[in-house]
């Protein structure tokens, strides 16, 4: 089957349109199962009490924030190298959701840090890296918004995303080193290894976040396609 025909925005639009509801339903089902475990079934943690339940959002959000950034950089690179407009549109669609996930990781990190460590912000290596990741997302979106010419915006933001992607491991390593030097705290779950049921809950929530991201990103990509292609007859038909 020739998948490349879906590289055309006109054909991708209805394909994505069919996919979005499926991802949405999957997200809801997985979330219900995951939340049931997170809030009802999983036992109270020995050291951190019930505050640990925040990890069922914190970990999936942090994970998605990184996955979405890599995906964004990948599609931006595709758009840059192959001059594929749809790839650039996908990168643009990924950015806001990625930034949202990063924000959630930071917010839940803060709410987890307060009962556990006593302060609203913890200069944990991973949380600090998440903060910098948020700045990278914001930079990508700001640069794109600042350039009026769409194609120039796509390609400039792509260069930025790639430079950011190369830097992420370096930034993470340096923040890790900085954290150990200053004997910073580490936000993680107690000394005991995690019970299997907690892992299952986290897996379900992570999958739920993933399905949600797929749905939202594809829906946003459809909007972007229509915004850019609205002069075309097919787009006007789709909008009517």
């Amino acid at each position: 089957m020739n998948w490349f025909k879906y590289a055309a925005p006109q054909r991708f639009h209805p394909l994505a349109g069919r996919a979005v509801p499926w991802f949405g339903v999957a997200a809801v089902l997985l979330a219900v199962a995951g939340l049931a475990i997170a809030l009802l079934v999983a036992p109270t943690d020995f050291q951190q009490g019930d505050a640990y339940r925040i990890i069922f959002i914190h970990v999936p959000a942090a994970w998605m924030s990184m996955v979405l950034y890599m995906a964004m950089a990948f599609w931006a690179a595709m758009g840059l190298v192959f001059n594929a407009r749809l790839a650039s549109m996908l990168a643009l669609a990924l950015a806001p959701t990625g930034a949202l996930m990063t924000f959630l990781a930071l917010w839940t990190g803060a709410l987890w840090g307060k009962p556990t460590w006593g302060t609203w912000w913890v200069w944990d290596a991973r949380l600090t890296s998440e903060l910098i990741l948020l700045f990278l997302y914001i930079g990508f979106m700001s640069l794109h918004a600042a350039i009026d010419d769409e194609r120039r915006a796509d390609r400039a933001a792509a260069v930025l995303a790639l430079v950011g992607a190369v830097n992420v491991p370096i930034i993470y390593f340096s923040v890790q080193w900085w954290n150990t030097l200053h004997q910073g705290s580490s936000v993680k779950l107690g000394g005991s290894s995690m019970a299997a049921i907690m892992l299952v809950g986290m897996l379900l929530m992570t999958l739920a976040f993933w399905m949600y991201s797929f749905a939202v990103v594809l829906a946003r990509a459809r909007c972007i396609i229509l915004e850019r292609e609205r002069h075309a007859a097919w787009a006007q038909g789709a909008l009517a």
């Binding site: 109270t44 505050a51 949202l100 987890w112 002069h231 909008l239």
Partner: protein
């Protein structure tokens, strides 16, 4: 089931504010994102069709 009562569920062992603060903000964030997308879609439909490079086909 962990919880002996609904009140215990809400209290979350004293950490209710933090736990529900997290879950609530997460739900709120997703709701805002979905709403924003719907607004974006509606705004698209409200726009008059942008002038095509050529003439529109027929009426």
């Amino acid at each position: 089931m962990n919880w002996p009562s609904f009140d215990a569920f809400v209290a979350m062992g004293g950490y209710g504010l933090y736990v529900w603060g997290s879950f609530a903000v997460c739900a709120l964030a997703f709701a805002v994102e979905l709403l924003a997308l719907r607004q974006r879609r509606k705004a698209l439909q409200a726009l008059p069709p942008a002038d095509a490079a050529g003439q529109g086909a027929g009426a």
